[in-house]
Symmetry: C2
């Protein structure tokens, strides 16, 4: 929640700036408009032969559950560089990004998730500070019921569907919550 | 530039939080860490028969130059909804988004650009408040030398390349500035 102006320290209040169509936090002192925009989460599918690398989360949310390496994209990097950085931070893994695979908007939490396909360059990986363990899984070994996030589940589901089918193609869409539990959601592809 | 904490109004300073690897703006009062992350710009290619809709910008930067409708993605929407919203705001145009087309990172200015393909639903369009004029262009009519942004030029270039070739496929990559003028840049696809 924004209460004060980050430029001058004065109080902000909600109002609709001229020419705009929605409320923004506007500074009562210097007049600065403080826009809030979605954040990009970028990650990858590290592939090794018929296996993919997953990390078991050491931090909340979803501590103890398995995920693909991913995290907030940083200023000054490209989205695929961020995906490779996250593989290194969470799994001490070196990957070569090979292409965009999924783009999912999560409007409820103001995030855009990107997952890239990637090649794991060697087997010298280990848990980073945000992971309890890191391991390679074949399709049958993947802990489908213990995946941390819907975006990870859907990305891996498409991944195997495409691998067994007509080849990989980029998927984009929206994930919306439809109920109270984490399994109550709808993915709408475009 | 962040000088004050938006939560408590106290002064912030740059320091590396524990467990982090880069400087952040940290509040001296409440300790809040103020992360800064790239913004998503989302837009579309509105198609009508063999033409696409472009807008001539009424605002800086690049006032007077032509662009595809695009703008900052808002909280609470999905990226393709944002692309359709921008077509409506900038050109009073109604489009149906048909698929992701390009994803370009611009690390120098901390932006991620998304362009979606889209179908223009009718010819009842007109300049929005941010446009001087709005018009449909066939390939030969496109003002290639008067396009506002590199991302627009590259997206349209791929668009016609794919349309004349083996069909459309999603392109992603990074655009980096290599010199002082707006034509000094390198697009690196992944």
């Amino acid at each position: 929640m924004i209460e004060f102006c980050c430029h001058c320290g004065d109080r902000v209040s909600l109002s609709i700036p001229e020419g705009d169509d929605r409320q923004r936090h506007v500074c009562g002192g210097c007049g600065a408009i403080h826009y809030q925009n979605p954040k990009v989460v970028t990650g990858c599918i590290p592939e090794w032969e018929d296996k993919v690398l997953l990390c078991r989360r050491a931090i909340e949310p979803r501590r103890g559950y398995w995920t693909l390496p991913a995290g907030f994209m940083e200023n000054g990097e490209s989205s695929h560089e961020g995906a490779a950085r996250e593989a290194h931070e969470e799994a001490n893994a070196r990957v070569r990004i090979t292409g965009l695979y999924t783009l999912f908007s999560l409007p409820r939490i103001d995030q855009v998730y990107l997952f890239f396909r990637s090649r794991l360059l060697d087997l010298d990986f280990s848990p980073g500070i945000e992971s309890l363990e890191v391991s390679l899984f074949s399709r049958d070994e993947i802990p489908w019921d213990d995946l941390a996030f819907q975006v990870v589940y859907e990305t891996l589901r498409f991944y195997y569907q495409d691998r067994d089918g007509d080849g990989f193609r980029v998927r984009s869409g929206t994930i919306e919550r439809t109920g109270r539990t984490s399994s109550d959601y709808r993915l709408q592809l475009i």
